[in-house]
Symmetry: C2
Subunit: 143 residues, 2 copies
DNA sequence: ATAAAACCTGTGACCTACTCATAGGTCAAA
DNA sequence: TTTGACCTATGAGTAGGTCACAGGTTTTAT
């Protein structure tokens, strides 16, 4: 398979295939005649695996570690379980933060309906946001 | 106020103050004696406004547009309302996707408890992820 | 046979929203 | 006066790709 064929088969951008190849997730052979990369069914499996893992929230580095461990015939699964647990916790925290945010946004929208737009006078840049009450400490910043 | 004073007053990193200044969100005057930037109360208001808007999901570009419009004595609020509605929709979509993801992660974790780790044999890189059932079409990609 | 379209290559820039590092200048307190 | 804390500008780094560029190759149509 050539780049675009592999990309199409996995439903990704050909540049993503090239990127993953540069990053060492895919290991195609090279055709010395034309210098093209040649991918086989194994690469397709790796690519699909990588996309699934990315959907699950694994980072590219983690995906590469898993693939590398698999190449060395070590079982990556204990590591996968660990990272996966961590990712699940992250997702749940993120959901909580977004729900907080949604709540605040909705209450702000409600409050804003009664407010005029107003032309900024150098003191009230935009009342809508200035009067936003910021009590919730759900920030990413301080982690 | 000097950089660190402003940063402390707003609870941000001094580098963020410098960054916002470079990006045109803050417009300090310069002390010709020592080449230091001088920020006033107006800058503090702008900075606080910017942080609030960022927390609400506005991009830096949008924040700058709002500030620029305010500087030109146009009311930015209709724009703010528009972008805000859009952001709320984004947040709600994102929450939905994450809840889907959490559901899938939890069911995968349950299924994995019964599965052995297994050493990869070149065909099953990691059963845990390969056997992940990927039916949910909640992707960011195709938007 | 040949010309155009569609592919391939590597490299590097771009995106967000900062944060950090570097090298050198300035200022306040001990 | 020296030390430490601050200031300056600039550039690089982060994640995960995506896109652009310039040039080589293969396929398809005429």
């Amino acid at each position: 398979m050539k780049v675009k064929e592999l990309a199409t088969a996995a439903g990704v951008n050909p540049d993503t295939v090239r990127f993953y190849t540069r990053e060492g997730l895919l290991k195609p052979t090279r055709n010395p005649d034309n210098n093209y990369q040649h991918y086989d069914a194994e690469d397709l499996r790796r690519l699909r695996f990588a996309r699934k893992a990315r959907q699950l929230g694994f980072s590219l580095v983690e995906v590469r570690q898993i693939l590398d461990q698999a190449d060395d015939h070590h079982s990556p699964c204990p590591m996968v379980r660990d990272v996966f647990q961590q990712r699940l916790a992250d997702v749940e925290r993120e959901i909580g933060e977004l729900q907080q945010l949604r709540k605040r946004m909705k209450s702000a929208l409600g409050a804003w309906e009664d407010m005029p737009d107003g032309t900024p006078d150098g003191r009230t840049i935009c009342r809508l946001i200035e009067h936003w009450d910021d009590k919730a400490p759900a920030k990413h910043v301080e982690e």
